[in-house]
């Protein structure tokens, strides 16, 4: 896969307007093998993520549960695709409010809520989330991205601690 399909054009703070949407990242439909591969990769043996009978009969769930520990990476991926190579995802926060079960198609999305200049850099506040194929929003959150200004210095890396 070429660099441009992942990165797109380098994002500039001056190009942004409150209300702008970040490019959506679509994952799915997410089937049993996807969940099994994730559980195996991180060695998480909680049966509700790969044992259909346990999930439905023992725990009374509607199906195999898509791991929160997995979904959260989709949010980070969607924001970094948009902000990098020049921007830095400084902060992210989200809640797992509802269950997503096997078979779902998940879309990570973001929307700019505030733009400000701070210390010579552009600070972008975003509302973020993941919705399923029916529009259910089970993972609401917020994020902060730091971008260089048009005539400003590069965002430092490592990013300084407060």
């Amino acid at each position: 896969m070429s660099e441009t399909t992942v990165r797109g054009t380098a994002l500039r703070f001056e190009d942004l307007t409150v209300g702008d949407a970040t490019p959506e990242l679509v994952r799915g439909p997410l089937r049993e093998p996807h969940l099994m591969r994730w559980s195996a990769a991180i060695e998480n043996w909680h049966r509700i993520h790969y044992d259909q009978r346990f999930a439905t009969e023992h725990d009374g769930l509607p199906g195999l549960l898509i791991n929160g520990s997995w979904k959260q990476h989709f949010l980070v991926q969607s924001l970094r695709r948009w902000a990098e190579p020049d921007g830095w995802l400084r902060r992210i926060s989200f809640q797992f409010r509802g269950m997503d079960v096997v078979g779902a198609t998940l879309t990570a999305w973001g929307r700019v809520t505030e733009l400000k200049e701070e210390g010579g850099y552009g600070i972008v506040e975003l509302e973020i989330g993941i919705h399923d194929q029916d529009g259910n929003q089970n993972t609401p959150g917020t994020a902060t991205v730091v971008l260089p200004l048009a005539d400003g210095p590069a965002v430092p890396y490592p990013y300084p601690q407060p």
Partner: protein
């Protein structure tokens, strides 16, 4: 906030509250970050950014060498060989959920012994400073930052525990601070 949310569930004790803010012992991952564990992770999470596997792509940008993703430090603690097999509990009890012995990054904090059965991942708050490189050895230190209880809409008790973990590398540089919320009910 509904009225029920303001009523105490009567589960959180003073002894539990006394644990808030106390930092755990530091805990170091049993292995350095390896290319192979990162490869398995990147493929499982369907990450498409080549800075996570291609040295040439990584050297062309700010990272300089192959790096893990921002939230990867959440997954650095793995079971060491020779330790008890958590799946023995599944053999002994068909109703066992498979999570026996799962400690994770905050495993060095004193357990809260909540009299509730089901644990749910409530969410995450993270701040990122740099990404772990291949060969980095991640160390964590955790603290409970908040414990609260309430009754849900069905009048059942639930407890929310927020745990903040600082992830650093072998040079003492902070990679990230990640606060996770665990909902017990």
């Amino acid at each position: 906030m509904p009225e029920s949310a303001t009523r105490s569930a009567g589960i959180v004790t003073d002894a539990m509250r006394a644990l808030m803010g106390a930092k755990s012992e530091k805990r170091t991952a049993p292995w350095p970050l390896s290319e192979d564990s990162l490869r398995r992770f990147v493929q499982a999470v369907m990450e498409e950014d080549p800075v996570h596997w291609d040295p040439t792509a990584a050297e062309a940008g700010r990272y300089g060498s192959v790096v893990a993703t921002p939230l990867f430090p959440l997954h650095v603690f793995r079971r060491e060989p020779g330790t008890p097999d958590p799946l023995d509990a599944v053999s002994a009890d068909p109703g066992n959920d498979g999570t026996s012995g799962a400690g994770g990054a905050s495993g060095s904090l004193p357990p809260l012994d909540l009299p509730l059965k089901r644990l749910l991942n409530g969410g995450t708050e993270a701040e990122f400073f740099q990404l772990a490189k291949i060969g980095d050895v991640v160390t964590t230190q955790s603290e409970y930052v908040d414990i609260s209880e309430r009754l849900n809409r069905r009048g059942e008790p639930m407890v929310i525990v927020r745990t903040r973990t600082t992830y650093s590398n072998q040079d003492g540089a902070t990679l990230a601070t990640i606060t996770t919320s665990l909902i017990a009910r």
